[in-house]
């Protein structure tokens, strides 16, 4: 789209030459001989940029700058003047001018400053747009978080209030025990959300991450399997690992990696089918160590895969309806892998299973050790 520029100067010769230079450079240019008509022009045209002389009879250039930046802070103002002093330049910029061009100036100088100003405008507009988007996301995010925390509390409150309101009836007597059990479970759900939330903020703030060092994945994976063996056995799920004989060291933080693989393992068990299988495999590939955690579970519908790693996102489906989760586990996994300089991906087939693949930067014994030595010196 053609950019439009308004030039305000009481010197007709300047107006003519500036108009000529800028029109030739492909801009739509309109010129005004005084501040008042210039401001009217700005209101009407809403230009991308205004070139204004500081010294004019009537409304001064400073006043024009002031009014234009009040009207629309994204209009770029370039000041031209034959009486340039540091003081006036500073004042004009304080009022919202973008830059200052002392007279006389060459056509090149004018073109350069105008183009730079327009680039600046694009940047301003872009960041303004991003800010609005972030704000919107934040608003939605707060709604999401509070909803997620309130849902179990509402359920608990409603059970307790119902027991209180209905008093002792055969109906409440038969349900009381079951409802209390549900209240306890939902209480645990709130606690789990808060715990995961804390983990997530710790990863985010970097306080969960210690030094990035050489870590062998094998003991971490074996520990994770051992820690979840009971849970797997309860659901009749077999845990298996295909671990290489050699060490496959990565660059990372032990605590973070333990949280990462625990989350993936717990998911693989939870969203599995009865008598299902969870298999973990590790292999080296292009300076990366790739760990795959595969389940034989319900799978993830394709439309959900994109949002899967978002905070508080949970796949809703007939089979996942009964499974409790905080909606933060995979968000934590994503944060951790990103923090360690790695990636996490998912492959999934409905009713066949899902595979989560984590790639982490491999530790190169020689090069990385030298670097570690250097940084500790």
């Amino acid at each position: 789209m053609q950019k439009s520029i308004i030039v305000i100067d009481d010197d007709e010769a300047v107006l003519l030459s500036v108009n000529k230079i800028l029109s030739k450079a492909g801009f739509h240019v309109e010129t005004f001989e005084d501040g008042v008509s210039g401001l009217e022009g700005v209101t009407e045209l809403k230009p991308d940029l205004v070139v204004v002389d500081l010294r004019m009879p009537g409304l001064s250039g400073m006043e024009v700058i002031n009014r234009v930046s009040e009207m629309d802070p994204y209009i770029i103002i370039v000041v031209i003047t034959g009486y340039a002093t540091i003081d006036t330049a500073v004042e004009a910029i304080k009022l919202g001018a973008y830059d200052f061009l002392p007279k006389p100036f060459s056509p090149d100088e004018l073109r350069v400053i105008v183009n730079r100003g327009l680039e600046h405008r694009q940047l301003l507009q872009e960041s303004h747009r991003l800010e609005i988007e972030r704000e919107l996301l934040k608003r939605q995010f707060v709604t999401l978080v509070s909803h997620q925390l309130k849902t179990p509390l509402v359920a608990i409150h409603q059970y307790l209030d119902t027991l209180k309101q209905l008093g002792d009836t055969p109906d409440t007597a038969s349900k009381r025990q079951d409802w209390l059990e549900r209240c306890l479970q939902r209480t645990d759900e709130v606690l789990a959300i808060i715990k995961d939330w804390l983990t997530l903020s710790k990863v985010e703030s970097g306080s969960l991450t210690g030094e990035i060092l050489r870590v062998d994945l094998k003991p971490i994976i074996l520990n994770t399997m051992e820690a979840n063996a009971d849970m797997a056995a309860e659901q009749g799920i077999t845990l298996e690992a295909e671990l290489p004989a050699d060490e496959y060291p990565v660059k990372g933080d032990r605590n973070c990696l333990a949280v990462l693989f625990d989350n993936l393992m717990v998911n693989a068990i939870k969203y599995n089918k009865p008598e299902g299988r969870v298999s973990v495999s590790v292999k080296a590939q292009d300076h990366q160590i790739v760990v795959a955690v595969a389940d034989t579970g319900i799978g993830i519908p394709e439309k959900y895969r994109q949002a899967l790693f978002d905070e508080f996102f949970r796949v809703k489906g007939q089979s996942s309806g009964q499974t409790t989760g905080t909606g933060l586990g995979l968000a934590i996994c994503k944060r951790i892998t990103t923090e360690m300089g790695g990636t996490i991906e998912v492959e999934s087939e409905l009713d066949v299973g899902s595979t989560f693949r984590v790639s982490l930067p491999a530790y190169h014994e020689k090069a990385d050790q030298e670097e570690e030595n250097r940084s500790t010196k």
């Binding site: 919107l136 996301l137 608003r139 939605q140 709604t143 999401l144 509070s146 909803h147 309130k150 849902t151 509390l153 509402v154 359920a155 608990i156 409150h157 409603q158 059970y159 209030d161 119902t162 309101q165 209905l166 009836t169 109906d171 409440t172 349900k175 409802w179 549900r182 939902r186 809703k316 309806g321």
Partner: protein, 134 residues
């Protein structure tokens, strides 16, 4: 207890459904449950309830609004257009407010009544009675 009105409860939280069902049944209402908006619309046609209690955030952030819209504006449900809807949610925004979604804004189509969760049981029963008498 002379009331024999049929209530359709649409909410994705099974615990919420269980307790509210007990309250309603103990006051003589018949209850039909649905755990998704889609299921709710199907049960609406199957059971022809007198009142609908509708949650807002279910599978999507605005699922309740979509269900409300469908019942009030789509031809498929025109027979049930006048079935009163009581919207319930724990998000503290009145349904008149614009509700933010990721790709812009949706206009919220007002339900007949709106109540905050957790439901104040006596107030909820009052509203229900009032709605049915209307």
């Amino acid at each position: 207890m002379t009331s024999k009105s049929k209530i359709l409860l649409i909410d994705d939280d099974r615990d919420f459904l269980a307790s509210v069902r007990s309250v309603l049944e103990s006051h003589g209402y018949t209850v039909v449950e649905a755990e998704t908006g889609k299921d709710g619309l199907q049960k609406l046609i199957e059971h022809k309830p007198d009142v609908i209690i509708l949650d807002i955030m279910m599978e999507s952030l605005t699922e309740g609004y979509s269900v409300n819209y469908a019942i009030k504006h789509l031809d498929d449900y025109k027979e049930y257009k006048r079935t009163p809807i009581i919207m319930v949610s724990s998000i503290e925004s009145s349904p008149d407010e614009r509700f933010p979604i990721s790709d812009g804004y949706v206009d919220v189509i007002s339900p007949n009544y709106y109540m905050n969760k957790p439901l104040d049981i006596p107030a909820f029963l009052d509203v229900l009675e009032k709605v049915i008498q209307e």
